[in-house]
């Protein structure tokens, strides 16, 4: 058995990977606890895909080291390969073959004999709602079906660690929620999932820990809650009954909260940041609500929440280019690289 004692599925230190002059990975450290979904969050070209490729033994790092369940990704690549599965951003099943043929092929390569391979393939197709598409070429699948066959191909042998590289990019909302449901089931069965995504709501919903990656470095790490409270303020959202009352509500709120209030795109909504401790924030919010009532403004919805991950993300990723213009330039070049690949 693997290195379960440390409880880490992945331990990476100082991973570096350069493509020409661009540093796609600029010293990434990761510790992924076993048995959960770990999110790698970052903009395009941040180095997420490169990190996953290194950990899945597809790319050799130029520096640093990484272990998957205690096995070194370079020296014990085959041991790592027998524990992991990978679902890439791009189709990684054969488009020319049918769904069934793809799964049978991979099952055979994992050592299943012919009848067992076929049985396993059919079982998976059924569980992923692809029975009707069994004998259809994968290139004729819709985006959601493709992603499902891709994930099905990754769990032919239930892996201990599953890499999902932007599994919902380009999917419609229904297909996204199907994929989310599948991911929850996979984790529920003890598989560790390393999920890369550029969608904050996805990381928020699925991941129990998140590393925010930008310019090939981890710039923040923690639970979604920790990341949100790290930028230290809450947000008040107000939705009015009547759009006409918004200018008045805006001035009432900024007086009561003592901060800038932003009108949202929705003509009846307003958002304000409240600083200070949780207690101060809630007293301020309560006062704001009663002032609105006193001013005769009808409020349909009033909420005080932590900042969204979007706000955290923007706050974190904004800070870096300002700190070093040079690394920003290299990151934009690596963004091009990732798009080109």
């Amino acid at each position: 058995m693997s290195d379960r004692s440390t409880g880490h599925a992945i331990e990476a230190e100082g991973l570096v990977k350069t493509f020409g002059k661009t540093r796609a990975l600029d010293g990434i450290d990761l510790r992924v606890p076993a048995g959960s979904v770990y999110g790698l969050l970052g903009p395009n070209g941040a180095g997420k895909t490169t990190a996953v490729r290194v950990l899945a033994t597809l790319t050799r790092p130029d520096g640093g080291s990484a272990r998957v369940f205690g096995h070194d990704v370079l020296r014990e690549a085959n041991a790592v390969r027998s524990k992991v599965s990978m679902t890439g951003q791009y189709a990684s099943v054969d488009e020319d073959l049918t769904g069934l043929e793809n799964l049978v092929l991979l099952a055979r390569l994992l050592g299943h004999r012919k009848p067992a391979a076929r049985a396993r393939a059919e079982e998976l197709l059924a569980a992923f709602g692809l029975t009707d598409a069994t004998d259809r070429q994968v290139k004729k699948y819709s985006g959601g079906m493709r992603r499902r066959i891709d994930i099905a191909a990754s769990i032919l042998n239930t892996p201990e660690l599953l890499f999902l590289d932007e599994p919902t990019t380009g999917l419609d909302p229904r297909s996204r929620s199907q994929v989310w449901e599948i991911i929850r089931s996979v984790v529920g069965h003890g598989t560790t999932v390393l999920l890369t995504t550029q969608y904050l709501d996805e990381a928020d919903r699925l991941a129990s820990r998140i590393a925010v990656v930008d310019h090939g470095k981890v710039i923040a790490e923690g639970t979604p809650g920790e990341l949100k409270s790290s930028i230290g303020s809450g947000t008040v959202h107000v939705r009015l009954r009547d759009a006409g009352a918004r200018p008045k509500a805006l001035s009432v709120l900024s007086l009561a909260l003592g901060t800038a209030v932003e009108p949202d795109a929705d003509p009846v909504s307003l958002t304000a940041r409240v600083d200070g401790s949780d207690f101060e924030a809630s007293t301020q919010a309560a006062r704001a609500l009663s002032e609105l009532a006193a001013a005769g403004i009808v409020v349909d919805d009033f909420s005080l929440g932590q900042p969204s991950l979007d706000e955290v993300f923007l706050a974190l990723t904004d800070a870096v280019p300002a700190a070093s213009a040079a690394s920003a330039a290299s990151a934009s070049a690596s963004a091009e690289m990732e798009t080109a690949r």
Binding site: R53, A56, T57, L58, T59, R60, N78, R81, S82, V84, M86, G88, Y90, A91, S92, V93, D94, E95, D96, L97, L105, R108, L109, L110, G111, H112, R113, A116, E123, L124, A126, A127, F128, G129, L130, D132, A133, Q137, Y141, S142, G143, G144, M145, R148, A153, I155, N157, T158, D172, R174, S175, Q178, E181, I182, S185, V186, G188, H189, G190, T191
Partner: protein, 284 residues
């Protein structure tokens, strides 16, 4: 787009992942042992067969192209070089068979390059199987195309009047040598398929290598009329040895020296380019 949207409308139900059914397929069963190198390679060969089944158009280059080559050169050069097309054909057919099949080997590199582009190879590379098996299997599939192309040319030749003295055995042995050499030569293209960025550049490099290699040989004419420096190249060209070997076995008088050279060249290609290919494959 959901399942329902793309498959024919009406009564199709939308897929709702259920924890029970997913749970059943996720329960880790007993892991089968790793497949052997041979079994993994054959499985990849099966994939190549399936691709031919789904995209039969790809067989165009192993059927139409060789037929055109054979007809074109037989009638173009036959009278001028040997006095009659019939006489020329006895000399020329083994040579054009080699030219056509060796030219087809470049599709190995193109196919590999396309696979990499599409991401299929990334999945194969994360499997705990014998590393070269994906490539060996791919070339197994290509060997079927080589045999097909050779048979097509043989058929055209027999119709036009090719009468090999070596009989069935001689012809089978000749095609056997050709297949062995082409299998080995394919490793040159797997290397280029891994190194070069696009399908087009693989095609470009292949043409650059294949045209001189096949034309500057004894395929079309006897080298004795060529200038000395060209004869020197023709003499060491592996295609010349291969054509000599095949002509000799098809004529029923096997030439041990050229057969030896052919087998040595084949072994050399596998060792050198197989190694370079796997080096690139592991370090991509």
């Amino acid at each position: 787009m959901s399942t329902a949207a793309t498959t024919t409308s009406d009564v199709q139900t939308v897929f709702v992942p259920s924890p029970e059914t997913l749970g059943a397929v996720l329960a880790p069963g007993a892991r089968p042992p790793r497949p052997s190198a041979w079994s993994a390679s054959v499985t990849f060969g099966w994939r190549a067969m399936l691709k031919i089944k789904h995209v039969p158009e790809q067989l165009f280059d192993v059927t139409a192209f060789p037929i055109i080559m054979t007809l074109m050169f037989t009638y173009l050069f036959g009278g001028a070089i040997a006095g009659s097309t019939d006489a020329y054909l006895q000399f020329f057919l083994p040579g054009i068979m080699v030219t056509s099949v060796v030219m087809i080997t470049m599709y190995t590199g193109i196919g590999l390059n396309t696979d990499i582009e599409k991401g299929v190879f990334d999945r194969f590379r994360t499997l705990p199987v014998w590393r070269p098996s994906a490539l060996v299997g791919m070339i197994f599939g290509d060997v079927l195309r080589y045999i097909l192309a050779a048979l097509v040319i043989l058929g055209v030749g027999l119709i036009l009047g090719f009468r090999p003295d070596g009989g069935v055995m001689g012809v089978v042995a000749g095609i056997g040598l050709l297949v062995v050499f082409s299998f080995a030569f394919s490793w040159v293209w797997t290397m280029f398929g891994l190194i070069l960025r696009s399908e087009k550049s693989v095609m470009g490099v292949s043409m650059l290598v294949l045209f001189p290699l096949t034309f500057l040989s004894n395929v079309f004419v006897e080298p004795s009329t060529m200038p000395g420096w060209l004869q020197a190249f023709v003499k060491v060209n592996p295609i010349t040895h291969l054509v000599d070997a095949i002509r000799s076995v098809m004529a029923g008088s096997p030439d041990a020296s050229s057969i030896m050279w052919t087998l040595m060249w084949s072994a050399g290609f596998v060792v050198v380019f197989g190694f370079l290919t796997m080096y690139r494959y592991n370090r991509r």
